[in-house]
Point group: C2
Chain length 411, copies 2
């Protein structure tokens, strides 16, 4: 079973917005055994939508489209689909009532454009959008399914979870997709590949290996598409057992979760608490944790101490340490982590202080130099990492290192 | 001049990573007058790469490919391109020396896999990748250009900025793409569209209107592709002048920048400083500011006061206020903003306290209720906003509202 994902919108093609919808849909389809053959983004252009639909239907049984369902004239997806399937629009009373109610909350009158949103093609099944004013649509076409969803991410997400996936599971007999990931650490990608070359060459044809390098870790993912899950999972377990004998000292674990999810779960399960003191990462570490539902069980406090004054007055770092060693130093990283623990009462704290760039670097401390501090109930220490040369890279690498170091301590 | 962007990697199709490269490349091409016809993501699959190349070359003069250039066997882009263009691989001494030097810094030996990275197709121009070990490649083919870049975002970004765009400008005579955006506020998308319908209908064929709704604002973008920039910019100015007469009270300004960029520039230009106290947004506001180069000029301190204790001990919120009004209240939002100002010495402070969900809501304060506080040199106030029903939506909407409210105050 193959799917094609089509996102429609000039704002994607000109780079005005980031397409996060495709990833969400890819994950949902994968989880349920549907292989994503292609993802494509095109403009609000009738000819291009039609051409893409032709191609998508030729290569896949399921086509999921997002975007172009707004009330204004630049959004043409619904009319194009209606014509493509040779249908006409009808007024859906239930959807109209829902749209009216949603607008009433915001004290907005129901006008002709909103009335237009309640018009749906005769031939489609309406997928109710509880969180927005543009309904989703499900079309059947020569044994294949075309689904059209609004482009607003959370509306699309709720429709995928609550309407699309349950219906796809009913509609098709889905086989399984198995992904399993082993996390290795302390070994560079090219060295790792060399060491496991014989094992890699002996992999059966239906199991694919991918290398996913990240700061300090390389993930090895084994994937098998449209298989009998139970058998293949067993086969993959055996393959990883063999691998474990080849690189016994470089295995951090197995999972699909991100490291922040692992830390999140560990802290909740063990009833521990966390505080964060960030300088160069500027709130990125706090965001990673607080984005996860349930974070308030362990996340007590974060401080983004960008100025030296904030480091001293809020976190209690000694001004003399900053003067003597510099704000980007082992001493300050440790003092920040300890300060965060003290002011919050948390069990664990992590800190970052570094030079994100593009300015502020020196010969001794070039852009990318980051001290990461960890304070546990037992000890406080700090490690210096070179996190690259580009501001966004430095922020994201330092964030990843800091969370990975905390995870190491928790294990 | 049209371009197609192709991102290669199973990790994109299964949703393991977010494709940010396509947006970056789209923006760069647009800025220089190249229209992105399509963006597509495909797997590490030889047949699919060839099929996509055929299609991309048929519809566009420029094809930019990212991904699949790693040292390991799952990365097949280079070999596939080499075969596609009927070339053979040669060993590039300069690239080999660069790779060796990069590995030496990390104390990694140069092995056969790294040697493989220094192999490049005879027929291509090598684009030097100063920040990584996989060189970029530039192929000429029947008057069209195919460019292959590594998938690591910052490596790709530097190659686009320093190698690809300068060469494309030399290679082709590029016309201009003009986008201009007017920001409207305080008027819902459907009402706005109704009010400006006559103006919209009279737009000339070569100028396209798009509606981009966001919390509290709707951006109206006028775009013209491959035109004489000067004339069209003048034409668009006149169109916006007409529009200003239709909705004089709903115009916030004109720009391409995000609101956080506007605030960033305003604070720097006026020598003002900022502090942030976040509860439900959990560091997202601080991140938005600190991600921008130069933020240390004004961003003094952020506090992510997730626990009530952090609100009182770090920000000086009265426990009695929390007990009497609740942590999600006007009083606490105001006290948080004032506290952030006091501990940091900043001129301005913003705060958020709300219920991000999925749990914690009540009938009086459902999920999505967020109090946003603003403290200026003159006054402190707070506004309650309903930011939706979904955790990530609540965080991003509250972040957007808070930054927009601060911008209103700064203007």
């Amino acid at each position: 079973m193959k799917a094609t994902i089509v996102t429609i919108g000039d704002e994607i093609l000109i780079g005005q917005i980031l397409d996060t919808n495709s990833r969400y849909i890819s994950r949902a389809l994968n989880t349920h055994g549907i292989v994503v053959a292609e993802r494509t983004s095109i403009g609000d252009n009738r000819a291009q939508i039609i051409e893409t639909l032709d191609r998508a239907l030729a290569q896949s049984e399921v086509v999921i489209i997002t975007g172009g369902l707004g009330p204004t004239k630049d959004d043409i997806t619904k009319h194009t689909l209606c014509d493509y399937f040779g249908s006409t629009l009808r007024y859906d009373e239930a959807e109209a009532a829902h749209i009216q109610a949603m607008l009433a909350v915001r004290h907005i009158a129901f006008n002709d454009l909103n009335r237009g949103q309640a018009m749906v093609p005769e031939c489609c099944i309406v997928l109710h959008n509880a969180h927005g004013t543009a309904p989703g649509m499900w079309f059947e076409h020569e044994g294949r399914v075309v689904i059209s969803l609004p482009g607003v991410p959370f509306e699309m997400q709720h429709l995928i979870d609550e309407e699309v996936m349950p219906r796809l599971k009913q509609r098709f007999e889905l086989r399984e997709i198995v992904h399993r990931t082993m996390i290795t650490f302390g070994i560079a990608e090219s060295i790792l590949a060399e060491r496991i070359a014989t094992w890699e060459e002996a992999l059966p044809d239906h199991i694919h290996l991918a290398y996913l390098p990240a700061p300090n870790v390389v993930r090895l993912r084994l994937s098998a598409y449209e298989v009998e899950g139970k058998e293949v999972r067993h086969e993959i377990d055996q393959l990883f057992d063999e691998l474990q004998k080849i690189i016994p000292d470089n295995i951090a674990g197995f999972e699909e979760a991100s490291v922040e999810e692992l830390v999140h779960n560990t802290l909740i399960n063990r009833g521990l608490t966390l505080a964060v003191a960030e300088s160069c990462t500027g709130g990125a570490i706090a965001s990673k944790f607080t984005a996860q539902a349930g974070a308030s069980a362990y996340f007590l406090c974060g401080v983004v101490s960008y100025s030296n004054e904030a480091k001293t007055s809020v976190l209690g770092v000694q001004m003399s340490d900053i003067a003597q060693y510099g704000a980007v130093s082992e001493q300050v990283a440790k003092a920040m982590a300890e300060g965060a623990k003290v002011i919050s009462g948390a069990n664990f704290a992590i800190s970052t202080t570094g030079i994100a760039g593009p300015t502020g670097g020196s010969k001794e401390k070039p852009v990318g130099t980051v001290w990461i501090g960890i304070s546990t109930p037992q000890r406080t220490f700090a490690v210096c990492k070179n996190c690259g040369t580009d501001r966004s890279q430095v922020i994201s690498r330092a964030t990843a290192y800091a969370i990975a170091m905390l995870y190491d301590e928790l294990k």
